[in-house]
Amino acid sequence: MPNAILKLESVGKRFGPITAVDGIDLAIERGEFFTLLGPSGSGKTTLLRIIAGLEPPDSGRVLIAGRDVTELPPYGRNIGMVFQNFLLFPHKTVAENIVFPLRMQRVDKPKRDERLAWIIRLMHLDGLEGRYPNELSGGQQQRVALARGLIAQPELLLLDEPLANLDRELRSEMEVEIRRYQKELRIPFIYVTHNQEEALTMSDRIAVMRNGKFEQVGAKVEIYTNPASAFVASFVGHANRLEGKLVELKGDVGRMEWLGRSILVPSPGPLSSGARVQLSIKYEDLEIAPAGANGTLLQGRNQLPGRLRDIIFKGQTANYIVTIADGVEIIASATPRALSLKPEEAVVVHWPAAGGACFPA
């Protein structure tokens, strides 16, 4: 990408014996919402701090807008950052917090006021200018933090789990808001989270991180529907994991033996038969029918008979927990109104042959 705003070239960082970031290459374009998704300890926050200049990398280069900033301190980089715990200056008012970056850049007062009025309107902070941070709600504090991060129109905005401290309802509201700011301002956002729903809601592209490396980088739909590894498959979306033995492999389709049943799976790659494989299949890709349902409906599909143990109602969908064998359960999600199943009923779970994603176990 020649027009990359941010470019990382084999960036690495170790803390003692632990490799936090392991040779990361990345390019992010203008106007992109990019998410680093990974469990805690995967190195995503360290990578963000390297981009910010808060942590010097042991190897590699960081380029922002074509300029090598690897050796520059944070205050030379022209970036904004929003933190999980807001980190507003407690002794400054909302307005003073927001214009802080402009004051540091010696922007004159009329221009500062103009920018302040603009961002206050954008972020719906009207009337709060004179308040102190401890007089604001969590959501307001986070909006002030966002305003402070964006007012100077930085080259890019870094967000370190900014919604983790907010309650659920506010979080989903802010997810939409943050994406709106990003699309309106066309500033690239780099968003760190361990919450896959947040990542899927907001991002254009997602990098799934594990042990300091990218497991997969791609458009969010690609990551969701076409996981590159078992880790990505289990981390993004809700999936059942069936681990069995590959007994046959013909082109794109394999046959897996699982609990004495035969399941058609997509090819897990060049493996010899007998290898252990793992099928990952998302809840919503499974369908459920009463036992003895119309045979033609199930023709050519993978089928697992079982007993419906419970229905977890979630509103738009419900999770059907089906006991396949002793202690083995799989979950299918469906629109609750479409089905009139009762717990303890005999059911069959089915899905298209070779559906899901299969990896060497």
Partner: protein, 302 residues
């Protein structure tokens, strides 16, 4: 109020009385001690300052002569200004010395930081007189520094021998641990992440200090200023041992009224003057504290 509204009368229950009793039991002794040991002597000094002393006896005839003498005699004014200037200089020097030390210990002291602060207080284990005597042994004409210099053929440093500078160094030595402790206690509660935020938002380290660190630690710093300035203003012993004739302080003169000259009433008036000067200093420093602007009332989000 509508007819149907339920009225709940406030009443004193057994539990109320129990809480009141418990409070009295806990707070009572301390309050009594403060009243007897602190306020009564202060009150008596105020009373004495309007009395008269003659041949080491106090007479209760009310007059303003003591104040007239204290404000009229140039010597007392010189003593007072000298003490005030000394206290101001010592406080500022303590501030400059203590800030980096306290900050460093709080930030980088790790598990040893409490130990390091206690170590600073180690000289207190010996008592004031001994510490000043030790300094005298260091600075005096036959002290360690000047003896060594004389031995190797360099003339002794005159400004260290019984000068205001020597007294000032002595006072700084005595009071800098208080300043360090006050600032340290503030800085350990400071959220250093705020400095990262300031830097990301374009503040250079020095600017970040002025914008963030200093205002958020101003209360602790102000307490340090008070606990150094006030005793320095009243200080007598240090000047007497180290300062020579040029350093005679208000406190020394005050001590004299209660000792050699036996003019207790005048001494009391000087004590009242000292008390009100200290009060003014506290009020001036206190006025600089804006609780909202200190971050003190704000929940520092961690």
């Amino acid at each position: 109020m509508s007819a149907g509204t339920l009225q709940i009368a406030t009443r004193r229950t057994k539990l109320h009385r129990l809480f009141a009793f418990r409070f009295a039991l806990l707070a009572g002794p301390g309050a009594l001690f403060i009243l007897v040991a602190l306020l009564l002597p202060l009150l008596s000094i105020v009373v004495f300052s309007f009395w008269r002393t003659e041949s080491y006896e106090l007479y209760a005839d009310w007059n303003l002569d003591n104040y007239r003498v204290m404000l009229g005699e140039p010597a007392y004014r010189v003593f007072f200004l000298r003490s005030a200037a000394m206290a101001l200089a010592v406080t500022l020097v303590c501030l400059v010395i203590a800030w980096p030390v306290a900050y460093f210990i709080a930030k980088h002291g790790g598990r040893y930081r409490l130990l390091l602060v206690l170590l600073l207080a180690a000289p207190f284990f010996t008592g004031v007189i001994l510490r000043i005597a030790a300094l005298q042994g260091l600075f005096g004409p036959i002290g360690l520094i000047n003896m060594t210099l004389t031995e190797i053929g360099i003339p002794p440093i005159q400004v260290l021998m019984y000068t205001p500078l020597a007294a000032g160094i002595g006072l700084v030595y005595l009071y800098v641990p208080f300043m360090v402790t006050a600032i340290y206690l503030s800085v350990i509660n400071f959220n250093f992440e705020l400095l990262e935020v300031a830097k990301i938002n374009g503040a250079r380290p020095w600017r970040a200090f002025i914008e963030i660190t200093w205002p958020l630690n101003w209360i602790g710093t102000a307490i340090g200023l008070v606990v150094v300035f006030i005793p320095c203003l009243a200080s007598a012993v240090t000047q007497r041992f180290l300062g020579g004739t040029q350093s005679a302080s208000f406190g020394m003169s005050l001590a004299q009224q209660f000792g050699e000259t036996g003019t207790w009433a005048l001494g009391s008036a000087m004590g009242v003057a000292l008390f009100f000067s200290s009060l003014v200093a506290i009020i001036l420093i206190g006025r600089s504290i804006n609780l909202k602007r200190s971050g003190f009332t704000g929940v520092i989000n961690r």
